[in-house]
């Protein structure tokens, strides 16, 4: 076959060579951070920060999600396609939530 190197047609050796195996040390670090952030988010919820309570809570949750996605789900070591796929999911989710909420938030803005 004189076709250029097609990623879909690699042998098992080539595939395994590229297939990055994440080390347990990284997993341990990540799970430790996740548990610390869980304690943090619980602790912070007892403080009165007014408007910032939900923002901080969601920010911590988002941070935890990013860690799980990048390291436990190996996205950091994955192809561009995988990263694009994750991005597409997040984007569509934000469109659903954001544009629906924008209707509710602007209902009180008065008639014109």
């Amino acid at each position: 076959m004189s076709a250029p190197h097609d990623k879909d047609f690699e042998s098992i050796e080539e595939h395994e060579h590229e297939h990055h195996i994440v080390s347990p040390k990284i997993y341990l670090t990540i799970v430790a951070i996740l548990l610390v952030m869980t304690a943090t988010t619980v602790g912070v919820s007892y403080l009165d920060m007014g408007l910032f309570n939900p923002i901080v809570a969601l920010a911590i949750a988002a941070f935890k999600m990013v860690l799980v996605v990048l390291f436990f789900m190996h996205v950091k070591y994955s192809t561009k396609l995988t990263k694009l796929t994750v991005g597409a999911g997040v984007f569509t989710f934000l469109v659903l939530v954001g544009m629906t909420l924008s209707d509710y938030m602007t209902r009180a803005w008065g008639r014109w």
């Binding site: 869980t38 309570n53 999911g89 989710f93």
Partner: protein
């Protein structure tokens, strides 16, 4: 380990082609198959994200509209159980990731151990959820089934919660809206629990297969893809926990 690359095969009758036993015929190489199935799992997770998306949208709208009801209703959830469950799930994600690593390193014993621990942690999660659901049932906080507004119209009638948060009594219409909070609580955690149950069932199947050595000969796709599913279910809970349990605990 030196399984050869697949040769293009001619018609199926009697044609000789080298194939790994777990490679399907319509794929040209094993790498193609494992890439394709991995991508397929990611796409399936996208559908799950959008599926939960509808519930999150409903939650965000109603929390915005009925904030006082949501605050007081969320005080009915015990933060201890919620935090414990979060820790349980995060740890199970860790053990699942270690399971994938064990499969990649072809360590059968470690793999089975990791899967079993993940399985047990999953059951612990469901056990805690059952305790929590039972508590809601006892207090008549299940929407549509003899739902009781008593603890919201008169918070002092529930001394445990009142001593912690000193909630003010809600007006009748706002108290009614606590039913919407509980509906969302049950819908979101229930949908999540359903996904956990399916995951645990598949884990059970995987433990048997892992014990038989199916995943430690270089074919880790099933474990890897299941791992993705399990981490996804964990991520859903990572958001459910602050949204349902931690609305405002600083009264």
């Amino acid at each position: 380990m030196s399984d050869s690359q697949v040769v293009v095969h001619v018609t199926a009758e009697g044609a000789h082609h080298e194939h790994l036993p777990y490679q399907r015929h319509h794929f040209e190489t094993y790498a193609q198959q494992s890439d394709a199935t991995n991508f397929a799992m990611w796409l399936f997770l996208l559908t799950e994200v959008m599926f939960f998306g509808g519930l999150f949208t409903a939650y965000l709208i109603y929390r915005n509209w009925y904030y006082p009801a949501f605050v007081e209703a969320s005080h009915q959830l015990q933060i201890g159980w919620g935090t414990a469950n979060t820790a349980v799930l995060i740890t199970s994600s860790f053990t699942m990731a270690m399971g994938v690593w064990s499969a990649e390193m072809r360590r059968k014993g470690t793999l089975v151990l990791c899967l079993v621990i993940t399985f047990i942690l999953g059951l612990v999660f469901l056990g805690i959820k059952t305790i929590e659901y039972k508590e809601k049932y006892d207090k008549h906080h299940i929407p549509g089934f003899h739902y009781s507004l008593k603890t919201f119209l008169d918070p002092q009638s529930d001394p445990e919660v009142y001593s912690e948060y000193h909630d003010k009594p809600l007006a009748l219409d706002m108290a009614r809206h606590t039913e919407i909070y509980f509906f969302l609580y049950f819908a979101m955690t229930g949908m999540h629990a359903l996904h956990m149950i399916i995951g645990i069932a598949i884990l059970g199947f995987m433990i048997f297969r892992a014990q038989a050595g199916a995943y430690t000969t270089g074919h880790v796709t099933f474990v890897e893809n299941f791992g993705l599913y399990w981490h996804f279910v964990d991520i859903i809970w990572i958001y459910l926990f602050p949204l349902l349990y931690l609305i405002s605990r600083h009264q």
